[in-house]
């Protein structure tokens, strides 16, 4: 049996990778992908704990997180499309206006 904390360690590592991606990449699309990594790391934790305690509540939370991820991706990428049509770029550091 794999100890639960191994899952936690994997989740932590994935989370960190995601954070690095969010902080360092310029391309918004890749930043979004890194966000997905972070959310996945959380999901691993939730499922691992659900398994540990033998309850499905963690699964429910994970489903909601996936729902949120889908909503986030839809809206975020929608904003990105709108932004790209106006500014012709997908670079995060060029999004420096509060209004355009």
């Amino acid at each position: 049996m794999v100890p639960t904390w191994h899952y936690l360690a994997l989740a932590a590592a994935l989370f960190t990778v995601g954070v690095i991606g969010v902080l360092t990449r310029r391309n918004i699309i890749i930043i979004f992908m890194s966000l997905e990594l972070i959310l996945n790391a959380v999901n691993i934790n939730l499922i691992a704990f659900a398994r540990h305690w033998g309850s499905v509540d963690g699964h429910i939370f994970a489903i909601f997180i996936i729902t949120v991820a889908a909503a986030e991706a839809a809206v975020g990428l929608g904003i990105l499309i709108a932004f790209f049509r106006n500014r012709d770029t997908v670079n995060a550091d060029e999004i420096d206006l509060l209004k355009w």
Binding site: I20, R26, N43, H59, I60
Partner: protein, 167 residues
């Protein structure tokens, strides 16, 4: 080590490596492919954790839905410009440092919780039959979040369409 343990470690390594590739690839499409690999490994890890419903959801929603969305967007925006530019922004050293601190924190927490984590986990069949249990929990204990999720989806739909449609 049993077969299942081996599976986990292999999957963990694949997930981690491809996650690293996600954030290092210059080409967003390659990033997306590696993200698919990560998500697939995570789905298999779910499976290995007895969360079969979650594994299926992960594949259906994440890989079949969200990743398709990502690929669409990558194709909609002009890719070549992005590929030619510097992939990382100026704060990469600060970011790296912050990430290291974060990792250290995680290590500390997991280390502190090691005793708790050694508690015997529940029986393997505790979360079976998966879908049925989730159904019952979702529709009996988590009614409100469930209905709110529908609102969230509504808002996301409206927001995304408005954003994309505006000229």
């Amino acid at each position: 080590m049993t077969f299942y343990e081996v599976t986990f470690y292999v999957l963990a390594v694949v997930a981690l490596l491809s996650a690293i590739l996600v954030i290092t690839c210059r080409n967003p499409v390659h990033s997306a492919i590696f993200l698919v690999l990560t998500l697939l490994s995570v789905a298999l890890i779910f499976l290995q954790l007895q969360a079969e419903f979650m594994a299926a959801v992960q594949i259906i929603v994440y890989i079949g839905g969200i990743m398709v969305l990502f690929l669409f967007v990558i194709m909609l925006v002009n890719l070549d410009v992005a590929v030619r530019q510097a992939p990382y922004n100026r704060q990469r050293w600060i970011a790296g440092f912050a990430a290291l601190v974060l990792l250290a924190e995680f290590t500390l927490f997991i280390y502190q919780g090691r005793d708790w984590a050694k508690l015997p986990p529940a029986a393997a069949e505790a979360v079976q039959p998966n879908t049925e249990l989730i159904g019952r929990a979702l529709f009996q204990n988590y009614i409100l979040p469930f209905e709110v999720a529908s609102l969230l989806l509504l808002v996301a739909m409206v927001g995304a369409v408005l954003m994309a449609k505006q000229r």
